[in-house]
């Protein structure tokens, strides 16, 4: 059994990095180090001497990593980027997920692929989670707006809650709008007319 691969994760999002570290540990990779996306990146890489570097595509520090090929004298072993063009599907999946990887030259593909698979799936899972959170947040937001507008309609027309809501829903249907949009218009109008 070969020694455990050292993996460095460069991601300015600590939550996503934690999710990824967790996934890699679950897959049996115990030496995972999260590096902050800050200045002395090459120095940190030099200390950690990783076999695999995983980096968030949004990080401009990718360009700093590119330099490792040139200054391989200062880094213990040359590091080659994972753009094995024979595996286009993997590259597409990585770009879609927003992650890139650098691996030590000569490291066997079979050892790297599961790491990349885990990384891509964790990045995707994080993106999905983030999207769901945003949806929930905007639904909550909509709920609040609708309640406020409903109260305004109830007061203005002296009608009960159910009728006010039915009225707003009718307008939304007639105008082919979302009820939250109608609610926002009501609030805007009420503020104007106050």
């Amino acid at each position: 059994m070969s020694r455990d691969l050292r993996i460095a994760v460069i991601d300015k999002n600590p939550l996503r990095a934690a999710i990824l570290e967790d996934g890699l540990r679950a897959a049996g990779h115990m030496s995972v180090v999260h590096i902050d996306d800050t200045a002395d990146l090459l120095g940190r890489i030099h200390e950690i001497d990783p076999d695999v570097i995983l980096i968030d595509l949004e990080s401009p520090s990718r360009d700093t990593l590119e330099q490792m090929f040139k200054v391989s004298r200062s880094v213990a072993r040359p590091i080659a980027m994972f753009v094995d063009r024979s595996d286009a599907a993997m590259i597409d999946a990585a770009i879609d997920a927003g992650v890139s990887a650098y691996i030590v030259d000569g490291l066997h593909k079979d050892r790297v692929k599961p790491i990349l698979d885990t990384t891509i799936s964790r990045f995707n899972a994080f993106a999905k989670l983030k999207k769901e959170l945003e949806t929930v947040k905007s639904q909550l937001e909509d709920r609040k707006v609708i309640d406020r507008a409903k109260a305004l309609v109830m007061r203005a027309k002296a009608i009960p809650e159910e009728q006010a809501y039915a009225l707003m829903r009718q307008v939304a249907m007639n105008e082919n709008k979302k009820i939250a949009e109608v609610a926002r218009s009501i609030i805007t109008a009420a503020e104007l007319l106050r």
Partner: protein, 377 residues
Amino acid sequence: MTKRLRIGYVPLTDAALLHVAKAQNFADARGIELELVADSSWANIRDKLVAGYFDAAHMLAPAAIAVSLGIGHIEAPLLVPVVLGLNGNAITVSKELFEALLQEAQGDMSNPRVTAKALARIVARRRERAETPVTLGHVFPFSSHHYQLRMWLRAGHIDPDEEVRLVVVPPPFMVETLRKGQVDGFCVGAPWSALAVAAGAGAILHQGTDIVHDCPEKVLAFRAEWALSHKEEVSALAEAVGDASRWAASPSNRSSLVTLLTSTAGKDVTAAMLERILDTSASTSGSALVASGLRLDEDAIKADPAQALWLFAQMVAAGQTTYSDALAEAAAAVYAPALGPPIPRAAATPVVFDGPAFSPNDIPSYLAALEDGRTSA
């Protein structure tokens, strides 16, 4: 019929012509719907262009050549029908280094030979005292920023690989690294030097144009295979860039250009900075507040294979590859002016402040002369 093209770019002032082509409807008029996608690194730009995520990209000219020749780690032939501008870089140094250079300088600080020799004394002293070597930042291994630093160092007979440290620092981190003393200076494109000066982190030592007059910068690059099977779209976009260039170079459009670029730049970039960046009149270095000299005019955008050869020679000089006739030929072939806008006049040729004259027809002699200059030190 309108064709939609997705173009990746790095938010720098010299992405200007792409913004103009879109905002002034030059692309639309030629049947191209432009989708401009900002990205955060040159590595992303390269990978996403090669993988087909972008149809074309705003790319560092030497990076486009390196990818085409397979120097580095990816080999993918690219084609450049049009250049997106010349100049725009500056060498900015920390206040400490500026002061030290002032003390050491024997002559006019606006002369890069004088500052390079002054720097050589500082470099030597730090080495004698076993202090951290002078560290200078640039933006990518294959960039004119990197080569400009090497040219400046060469004039002081400083070995760029042994006596100083050259490191890649992403522009958004430059001000911070300069402040923290992690770098002593850097060569970076507009508007980043202006921002570093505005933040009080450093001073512009030399305009890029003081080092190389008419220095190649960014190009519009396509995958060669795609470009050759979509010649109409390639030419239409390249011609739209040509239209944008004529529009941008017209003095009557200057204020509209500045307004447009202010809206596409980051929040700290002011109209006054952009006015200076776009100023191509005589350079005033040393005390200059902002790098200037970015050229967007028609004579600055022709994809002349001689420029590609000049960049290839700089790669060889930097030890990134070795010279061969075949590689030189391949480098020249990356630039495809036939697919670009018709520009009758010759393209601008880069002129370095120091060292031998360049002839695209005899690169080996040029490289040998560079080598002689080094060994005679």
